[in-house]
């Protein structure tokens, strides 16, 4: 298993290898970050705010004089974990519903699609505000909000792909062979839409990182003293004028994470590319 994965990794183009390395790096930070952090997350350890880098504080200090490196190492797992889980949940739900609609015919497709249209018309921020106001902020709730917000978008794309694929001759052949809808959806249609769906997953992942950051800024996301990468940027926004490391470091972190995910996904062997 590991040998095969290694072999596949070697076959990736350079951009894919860079992406893979970035993704592995961030996964490792998400898993082990809190253990590596030199200071506790909420501790005020520096005398100056927006300090530059130093031996004691590798990435300087933030707007309250806390250690940026420690906050970054502890915050990464909220962004990586929450966004990845929410994006996966959204993509899996959206794609499953889309396949149901595509093989189920108009009687299934119409109500489902109209329901998704309704969902898409609710502004995501307002929707989150209402839910957080009603239930109070918690990680599972944030996960659910992010997932629900991005299901309709994924559904739209997956349904458009699947509806075209269902018309293909090989699906007609499968139907004429007497195959059931489940087999057609899983074995005939799904493998041919996996690559565009992965690209879509990368996009959703980035959107969810941004959504969570926005929620954190409004005070509805991850609650202080914990912070995800987005809220690290937001809380240090006043340091932008001085070019403080406190804002640059989390911004670079978000960029490398999202760019890495997308590089890796784009480099995965898909249809129409040489193997």
């Amino acid at each position: 298993m590991i040998a095969v994965s290694l072999q596949k990794a070697k076959a990736l183009p350079l951009s894919g290898k860079i992406g893979l390395m970035l993704v592995i790096f961030w996964l490792a930070i998400a898993l082990f970050g809190p253990m590596l952090a030199p200071y506790p997350v909420g501790a005020f350890v520096a005398y100056d705010v927006f300090d530059g880098y130093s031996a004691a504080h590798w990435l300087g200090s933030d707007y309250l004089g806390r250690d940026v490196l420690s906050r970054l190492l502890s915050g990464a797992r909220y962004t990586v974990g929450l966004a990845a889980a929410a994006a996966m949940l959204a993509s899996a739900t959206g794609t499953a519903l889309a396949l149901t609609a595509a093989v189920g015919g108009p009687r299934v497709d119409e109500p489902l699609s109209r329901f998704m249209d309704m969902l898409i018309s609710i502004p995501s921020k307002i929707f989150s505000l209402v839910l957080v106001a009603a239930f109070g902020s918690s990680l599972p709730l944030l996960l659910l909000i992010a997932a629900i917000t991005y299901v309709p978008g994924n559904y739209r794309i997956a349904r458009a792909l699947a509806v075209n694929l269902v018309q293909m001759d090989y699906v007609q052949v499968a139907k004429a062979r007497g195959e059931g809808r489940f087999h057609i959806a899983i074995a005939e249609v799904l493998p041919n839409m996996i690559h565009p769906l992965l690209a879509d997953f990368g996009l959703r992942f980035v959107f969810i990182v941004l959504l969570l950051s926005g929620l954190s800024f409004l005070g509805l996301g991850v609650q202080p003293p914990d912070a995800d990468l987005g809220s690290l940027v937001r809380e240090n926004i006043s340091g932008l004028g001085e070019g403080a490391l406190a804002i640059l470091a989390p911004a670079v972190a978000i960029a490398t994470l999202t760019v890495g995910v997308n590089l890796l996904i784009d480099a995965l062997p898909g249809r129409g590319k040489g193997r």
Binding site: D169, R177, R275
Partner: protein, 602 residues
Amino acid sequence: MTDRPHIEVKDLCVTARNAQGETFPIVSGIDFALKRGEVLALIGESGSGKTTIALTLLGHARPGATIAGGSIRVGDAELTRLDRTALAQLRGNRIAYIAQSAAAAFNPSRTIMDQVVEPALIHDLMPRDKAEAKAVELFRALALPFPDTIGARYPHQLSGGQLQRLMAAMALITDPELIILDEPTTALDVTTQIEVLRAFKAVVLERGATAIYVSHDLAVVAQMADQIVVLNQGRIREAGASAQILHSPADDYTRTLMAAARPAMRPTPARAAVPAAPLLEIRGLTAGYGKIDKAGRPRMPVLRDINLTIERGATLGVIGESGSGKSTIARVIAGLLPPASGQVLLDGEPLPPGLAGRSRDQFRRVQLVFQNADTALNPAHSVQQILERPLAFYHGLKGNAAHLRVMELMDLIRLPATLIDRNIGGLSGGQKQRVNLARALAADPQLILCDEVTSALDTVVGAAILDLMAELRRELGIATMFISHDISTVKAICDDILVLYAGTMVETGPRAAFQTAPFHPYTDLLIGSVPEMRAGWLEESHAGRGPPPIGAAGDHPDLCRFLPRCPARVDGLCNITPPPRHPLAKGNRILCHLGAESLCPS
């Protein structure tokens, strides 16, 4: 200067780059020359480089390819030395190009006239009103209907054959020194092809145009060309005057091409003495799309009143032009389209109309093989996965037993066992079609519905598939419904033939009855439109010459559907009364008013 050839290509070499970045030649060592007013044909299979060569005469190489060496001279212009702007001056002006699919080459959002006069306007050759007058003159010369007003229409309002002729008008509007015709009739039905060829030839002769005709069809080329160049894998195999190539080909490859173009009659096995019940029987079938009214007719009827039987192990050929409903018959039998009325009986038992309600065994006994193996095989699956699925689904074969059976099937379709792990993208067109066939065989069917299985293939590859099918039929005794637009193929391999026109059966009978006249007028047109491999056939053929005048047609729904095109129609009879179905002495039944004596002999 008079004996200097007008167009001269010397030692032409075009190279391309592969995925590893290595350069390799696609065509090399190409030499030919032609005088003003001559037509030269480039003949070859797909991948032979014929279109690549034709494009270099426009000074163009497709993305990824470059003209690496040699010289291309048109008149006084040496194309390899010209820059972009100078080439743009030549293209569409002194050199014109007619593409294979006119339907795709026209812009659907602009009128025909706008597009036809465009080359003349771009190159500032004449004012718009003069160009339009010239276009109308060309429309007339190309025998287009309503030449004065056809320019105001949009491409979707015209047929494929008409668009192809309009492409020719667009090319000719600037009086080019050289016209390049790239498979201009390949996408057309034979009956349309003959009309288009006739129009092309008349215009080429009348204007003394110099032309390069690219085609894979020797018989078509025989009608048009003075010289023929035979290409294979980017090299010239043989070049010479048409008559010499057609009558005494020197090269083996040319001979293979000629043999493949004339399908050999394949012997059909003797039939079982006492057939109990026919394997498949269709009774009074009507099918189509849209809502079904009270009389059992759908809003868009495709098939009307189809009756046919297929005996065990027999082959039934279904022919007709595009849109005649021949593929729909297969879809109805397979259950993909429930019929509006009528019955399909398998082994004497009625099949449920749609997919729902058919038993797995009923599915197994009838297998459908689609025309285009590129789209009929799932690109995400390997050959092994494709062949194993029906084995598991119908026979519950798994693991080693399934693997053994897959190997047997690979052997049966003459593919090396090493291919089983390949994805579909890694196979050639002919190999894909074999896998497509093997998937149907894996089910152990009694009936295979073959929808145009050789149409998308080169003649040589297609002939090999036909041989394979004939062999499988002998060995396995599977009945086949062979759907095709090509009457010579059908005549070569089928026991019985059914001719379909606009969804009605116009003629049915054993194949022996299709060897000699008389035929139904439509069958006659079909047979007469297949080009013969000799010069002068186009002039002698009477096919597609146009019908005699006739009064207004009545409004009976069952009137002869071939009436608007029928050369043998009788005023006062055909346009008033629906035609009867009656037998001819030689064994076939036709749907026509006329008897054997009044049907024109072919």
